[in-house]
Structure formats: structure tokens, C-alpha cells
């Protein structure tokens, strides 16, 4: 294999313009091979457009993009040989059955008829779709469609798999199944470029994340780096008695010198631990704040100190409330 590179994907100043809309507006990405890389952003941020350019479906209007060192325009055919795309909408033929879809694609990937049938049957079995193999895909549930779609993408184990919003519209159970499948695929060395609007999903699967909004990357790094860039953790406290909450709010605000949020749950509150005005670590600060609560006679049932959630990171970065929910 020629053109191997430590990066599965490298883009420089990648641009795609639709009319007056700069859907992708100067994106620089470096996706290390063998990892799951998350492209996180709200609807219309330009995630899918970026993926389509990397998968050779759209021509960039500016900049360049390479997949394993191969230019996506000049060497499109080589790139196609190494990637698979699972689109936002199931990329299988809804009129055909599960088996027919997989056999069709296996044949197009060069498998002989018997090999195509064997591989399809094995994949359907591993994906828990053996019983639905002879049903038309249009009669599949949302979760089953995603599964057949991913199965179609790994008929030949790809070096790079694009997963464009793989769990949008799925119930939690199906979502977990898709995640398990993704983890199994990554464990075998395939690089995954995942786009998602769910912070939870990026947090669960990706090792590095680029936050993208209005066609631009607004933050990039490991999950830890991104969270640290917001510069705080938070302490979640659950009280025994809801009536004590206003008092607890004052105590915490005083001890931590930070804003305290009242959670929808009437006994819960969350306070930011930002380390301002003290050289104590976050955990010491939190411990001190809890001690103050005890001294004030407030009963704490349960508490937890966490890193900021990606939600908080995202909101801090985009300054657009509720855009991901």
C-alpha cells in the first residue's frame, strides 16, 4: 500500500460553498489512524458536507483533503477503495431484502457469488438480522436499518469508516447496540470518523473531537482537553429536604464563589468549581463546600464531582443555548 500516513484524514482549509452559504468554511482536520474521531455540531453545522467531500461524493471548492495521504479529488478512486460511508439516511436499497442488499454490494466489491452469499449470511447473523434477512428493508425498524447499513459498510473491512449521525432517531436500546458495533469495528483497527449532534455519543465513542459550527472548527482536542478548556468541573448535590435548597444555594455560592444552578429536580443543585481566588484543587474546594453545608445543618443525601459535560463545553463554545437538544 502506498501513500500510508499516520493520519487517516488530513484537511487544509477545506471549503464548500452552496450558493451564498459557506457550508464548510476553511476546515483543518487531522484524524489519527486507528481512532474514533468525533465531528460534533448542531444541525446544519457542515458536518455532513465535510464528510461527503472526504468520501468523494462532493468536490471541495477550496483547500485540500487527503485520506491516508491520497487526495480526495485527484486520487478519488484510490480513496474509494479504502473508505465506506454510512449515510445519515440508510444507504441501502429499501425495496430489496437484507440479504439482497448485502449480496449486491459484496458482488460490487468483487466477491464471487458464493463468497458474497457467505459473507452476507455471516454479517446478518452477527448483526442479529438473520431472521429479517429475507424481508424488504423498508419493513425494518430504525435500529435494524442502521445495523444493515453498517453491515453493508464493512462487507470489506474498510480502513476508514464514515458514520454520519449513526443513531439519529434511534431509541436508547438501539443506540447502545449501534455503539457496541462501532466499538467492535474500531477494535479491529478501522478508523472511524463519526458525526453527531449528540454530545453523549461523542463522549462515549470518540477519543478526539472537533466541535464544528457554521462550517468552522471552533474547538479541537481530546475529550479531556476540551473539557479542561472550559476550565472547570462541577459538583452535583442532592439534598434530603427540598426546603433547604435556597439555603444550600447561598452556602455553596459563598464557598465556591461561583454560580449555582438549580436543577429541575427540586432537591438537586449543581455548582461550578472553577478554582478562582484560591490555589486549592477542585476536589479540595468541593470537599470544603460540602463541609460548609454540613456545618449549616443541611443534610446531603448524595453528591458527585464531575468534569463538565460536553453539553457544558458545547454551550460554552458555541454560545447557542439548547442547540443540540
Amino acid at each position: 500500500m502506498t501513500g500510508n500516513s499516520a493520519f487517516a484524514v488530513e484537511t487544509e482549509d477545506l471549503v464548500k460553498v452552496f450558493g451564498k452559504n459557506r457550508a464548510v468554511d476553511g476546515v483543518d482536520l487531522r484524524v489519527p489512524a486507528g481512532t474514533v474521531y468525533g465531528l460534533l455540531g448542531p444541525n446544519g453545522a457542515g458536518k455532513t458536507t465535510a464528510v461527503k467531500m472526504l468520501a468523494t461524493l462532493l468536490r471541495p471548492d477550496g483547500g485540500r483533503a487527503r485520506v491516508f495521504g491520497h487526495d480526495v479529488v485527484a486520487e478519488a478512486d484510490t480513496v474509494r477503495g479504502r473508505v465506506s460511508l454510512t449515510g445519515q439516511y440508510a444507504s441501502v436499497d429499501e425495496d430489496l431484502t437484507g440479504t439482497e442488499n448485502l449480496v449486491l454490494l459484496a458482488r460490487l466489491l468483487g466477491h464471487g457469488r458464493p463468497a458474497a452469499r457467505d459473507r452476507s449470511a455471516q454479517l446478518l447473523d452477527a448483526f442479529g438480522l438473520a431472521e429479517a434477512a429475507d424481508r424488504q428493508v423498508k419493513n425494518y425498524s430504525g435500529g435494524m436499518r442502521r445495523r444493515i447499513d453498517i453491515a453493508a459498510s464493512i462487507l470489506n473491512t474498510p480502513d476508514l469508516l464514515f458514520l454520519d449521525e449513526p443513531t439519529t432517531g434511534l431509541d436508547p436500546r438501539s443506540r447502545n447496540q449501534v455503539w457496541d458495533i462501532v466499538r467492535a469495528v474500531v477494535a479491529q483497527g478501522t478508523t472511524v470518523l463519526l458525526t453527531t449532534q449528540y454530545l453523549d455519543e461523542a463522549d462515549q465513542l470518540a477519543s478526539r473531537i472537533a466541535v464544528i459550527d457554521h462550517g468552522k472548527v471552533i474547538a479541537e482536542g481530546t475529550k479531556g482537553e476540551l473539557k479542561a478548556s472550559v476550565g472547570s468541573g462541577s459538583v452535583h448535590v442532592r439534598l434530603r429536604d427540598a426546603e433547604q435548597r435556597p439555603r444550600a444555594e447561598r452556602v455553596l455560592a459563598g464557598a465556591l464563589r461561583a454560580a449555582v444552578q438549580l436543577d429541575p429536580d427540586p432537591v438537586a443543585l449543581t455548582a461550578t468549581v472553577n478554582g478562582h481566588g484560591t490555589d486549592l484543587g477542585a476536589s479540595e474546594q468541593a470537599a470544603r463546600a460540602l463541609a460548609e453545608l454540613a456545618r449549616a445543618g443541611i443534610t446531603v443525601d448524595n453528591f458527585a464531582l464531575g468534569q463538565p459535560s460536553l453539553d457544558e463545553v458545547f454551550l460554552a463554545l458555541t454560545d447557542r443555548k439548547g442547540s443540540a437538544a
Partner: protein, 296 residues
């Protein structure tokens, strides 16, 4: 910076639970089995252009299998065409139905099949919007294969239409002097021409935005092209300017070639014209189609 960690994900957005059945009756995916399928797998060599095209042709056959209603336009429609025009014009134009059918059948066959080709554009247009096309376009295969596959599938439809019309014709008195060989040669020429002509529709299918606009444009092209020909009557009675058009229309050349082949003659010039037009259609509209396909 953490002692107990939790709350990391609990505030994160949960995807909308809009999916219908979860497939609860189905087995869970098995990660271990999946892992075994992914390792040490060798990639087979890429399929050749012909093999990929035929695989897409097989896809078209599978679609017919699952949605047999789509054969309506290659069965009922051609029967209607033969019966309608034979009995409508037969007495007036040729004195009798049996006399007219000898002239009309090859022509109406050409006209019907050429008309049926326009459905190609509609199916390309509806298909291209679906996710599966994105997958086809990311496959490392010969680029025109999906389009050629459509047309190969359509050739089967044209073959069915031809068989149906010839059977009806034979039932109501058509007796081709060219025998089986002449009829088969005529049908073969018709299929080659239709395959080539269909690239106009793949082009429109990719170019236009909706199924309706594809249909509208197709009608605008197909009606003048098929009616302004020598399918129904000899062009000698037409005004001079119309004769000029009709005598040079590809459909006229094709209709004449098919009619003569089925009558047992060898119309070399008209065969050459028909094949020449076929080459032009593929060269021009095939090229435009592929350009649109790659840029879509």
C-alpha cells in the same frame, strides 16, 4: 480533578425516541462474532466494468421481482397501443385491419418501446435522491456501471414489451415475411437503439429536480419524436417541411429498418442510420450523464 465521577453524561442530550419497533424480537448484534468477521479479511480484486454493470442490472431485476406492478407499462400499455391504432386507423388508412397491421405492427412496436424508454429518467430521478446512491458512488467501481445497469434492466423490459406486442399482432393477423430471423433481427436493432436513446433520459433524470419535471420534459421530447415519423402513414402526403423532418428523424430510420427486417429485406442504409444515431446518443448523452453523475 475528580473524586467520585458521575454526572459526566447524565445531562447530555438523549436522542429523540422516534424509531418505531425496536426489533425487540430480534437477536442482539454479537460483537465477538463481528470481530471475527473483520480480522484477516482479504479484499477481493475489483470487479470489471461489465461485471459491475450486470450486477446493477440484476438489481433492476430484483426490483421487478419485488414490485411487479412496474411491468404494467410494458404489458398492458403495448397491447392497448396495438389494438387501438390497428382498429382505429386500419379501415380508413389501408382498407382493412389485416392489411394495415402488416404495415403498422413494426412501427407501433418501435413507437411503444421508444416511448417506454422515458420511464428510465423517472426511476433514475427517484433513485438518485435516496441514500443508496451515495453508497454506490463511493464504491471503487467503473463509474458508469450503475447507469448502465439501469439500462440493462430496461432492455429486459423492452424485450417483454416486444414479445407482448408481437404476440398480440400475430393473434390479430400480422404475418412477417422475414420469419423468426427477421423478427429477431428487428427486435435486436430496436433494443440497441432504445438502450442508446435512454441516455437522454438518464441525463434528464440527473438534471431535473423532480419526478414531475422529468415526466413533463420527457413528454415534450417523446411525442413529437415518435408521432412525427413514418410509424402510422407514409410521409409522402405530408407537407414538404414536415417530410424533411420526418424523413431524417431517427425514429423513421429505425421504424423503416425494423419494418423491412421483419418483412425479410435487408435495409442496409436504415440500419446504418439507426446504429449511427445510437452511437451519437451514447457519445453525447452518455458523456453528459456521466458528467452530471460525477458532479451530483
Amino acid at each position: 480533578m475528580s473524586i467520585g465521577t458521575s454526572g459526566d453524561t447524565e445531562t447530555a442530550a438523549v436522542p429523540a425516541t422516534t424509531a418505531t419497533a425496536t426489533g425487540a424480537e430480534l437477536a442482539e448484534p454479537r460483537a465477538d462474532e463481528l470481530a471475527a468477521l473483520l480480522v484477516g479479511q482479504e479484499r477481493p480484486p475489483r470487479p470489471g466494468a461489465l461485471s459491475a454493470s450486470f450486477t446493477f442490472g440484476w438489481r433492476a431485476m430484483l426490483k421487478i421481482k419485488h414490485v411487479p406492478e412496474q411491468l404494467f407499462d410494458v404489458t398492458a400499455f403495448p397491447i392497448m397501443m396495438v389494438l387501438m391504432y390497428t382498429y382505429l386507423f386500419g379501415g380508413a388508412l389501408a382498407g382493412s385491419v389485416s392489411a394495415y397491421i402488416q404495415f403498422l405492427l413494426p412501427g407501433i412496436l418501435v413507437m411503444s418501446v421508444v416511448m417506454i424508454t422515458m420511464y428510465t429518467g423517472v426511476s433514475v430521478n427517484t433513485d438518485i435522491e435516496k441514500g443508496v446512491f451515495d453508497r454506490f458512488r463511493t464504491l471503487p467501481i467503473w463509474r458508469p456501471a450503475p447507469m448502465v445497469g439501469y439500462l440493462l434492466g430496461d432492455v429486459v423490459r423492452y424485450l417483454i414489451a416486444s414479445a407482448v406486442m408481437l404476440s398480440v399482432g400475430l393473434l390479430i393477423g400480422y404475418r412477417p415475411d422475414g420469419g423468426i430471423v427477421g423478427v429477431l433481427l428487428g427486435v435486436a436493432l430496436l433494443l440497441v437503439f432504445s438502450f442508446s436513446f435512454s441516455w437522454i433520459w438518464t441525463m434528464f433524470g440527473l438534471l431535473l429536480r423532480s419526478e414531475k419535471s422529468v415526466m413533463g420534459v420527457s413528454m415534450m421530447v417523446i411525442f413529437p419524436l415518435t408521432f412525427l415519423s413514418n410509424v402510422f402513414v407514409d410521409p409522402k402526403t405530408m407537407p414538404g417541411w414536415l417530410q424533411a423532418f420526418v424523413n431524417n428523424s431517427p425514429v423513421t430510420h429505425l421504424a423503416t429498418a425494423v419494418r423491412e427486417l421483419m418483412a425479410g429485406n435487408w435495409p442496409a442504409a436504415d440500419i446504418a442510420w439507426s446504429l449511427g444515431w445510437s452511437v451519437v446518443f451514447v457519445a453525447v448523452f452518455g458523456a453528459v450523464t456521466m458528467r452530471l453523475y460525477n458532479r451530483k
